[in-house]
Symmetry: C3
Subunit: 109 residues, 3 copies
């Protein structure tokens, strides 16, 4: 068994979970947030059979897409009387960031 951990965008989380559940793949969802943008996102955790990894990655790819988000840059130190108008900076946030690890033992108690 493998443990798959995927950080996905808020807006893609539900459709991704539904797509996995429709194929009998169980998922647990966690609220999380990113370090760079400090925006909320979602982390999905799923224990899957080794031979279903490709199928699960394809489902995640279909349901998660890249989006643009805007962040306000930190204002630089300005001279008194100067004006600083922050133009929001556009940042691309990927579809999904996925880690796959080996599970030594799986139990349903």
């Amino acid at each position: 068994m493998k443990l798959l951990i995927a950080v996905v965008h808020n807006e893609d989380a539900s459709s991704t979970m539904d797509a996995l559940n429709d194929r009998g793949i169980s998922v647990t969802r966690f609220a999380s947030s990113g370090g760079f943008l400090q925006h909320k996102n979602v982390t999905l955790m799923s224990g899957i059979d080794d031979d279903r990894v490709e199928e699960v990655l394809a489902l995640i790819k279909e349901n998660c897409r890249t989006r643009s988000e805007f962040m306000n840059p930190m204002p630089p130190l300005v001279e008194p009387g100067d004006f600083f108008v922050p133009y929001p900076v556009e940042v691309q946030v990927g579809g999904a960031t996925v880690f796959i690890m080996s599970v030594d033992r799986f139990e349903k108690l």
Copy 2:
């Protein structure tokens, strides 16, 4: 060292954590939710010595039990004038779903 990750029912979380703590086993708790029922549950994470895995699994089994939960099925597409009365469907939710993984390195900084 092993990292144990257990998804348990809300109502079993506190007694399970207390049972582990009473034996000097540290645990960290996360709010989570299931993909199928969309109900809140709890995920416990505990780094444990290899030789205590059986003891910890026995403690989790003692403190987590199977429960019935009800979910409302999605209404089918009905003809105008037809009536659909959703009977809640009973779903068994297990005691605990447990993943055990190897830890390459453990540090207390």
Copy 3:
């Protein structure tokens, strides 16, 4: 690649994440809580190249420090008429508890 999971104190989380981000190390943050003190804490998750583990551990050590927290001991069973004044017990909470695991596969979808 390694997956690093660090349980840190609430007050150290933001400075730790900023220190990692400043060096281009991505981090995802989860709200969590400890089993013993039942206080809120933060769990950080970061997928890092094998050759940056020492650098990341040093950054965490610099930004997380040991603190004292107080917990109210459980009152013992007292005889009627007796008085029990709980003196808060001081507990040391470490800087960071860190687990490092191997990642079989990493994907950006």
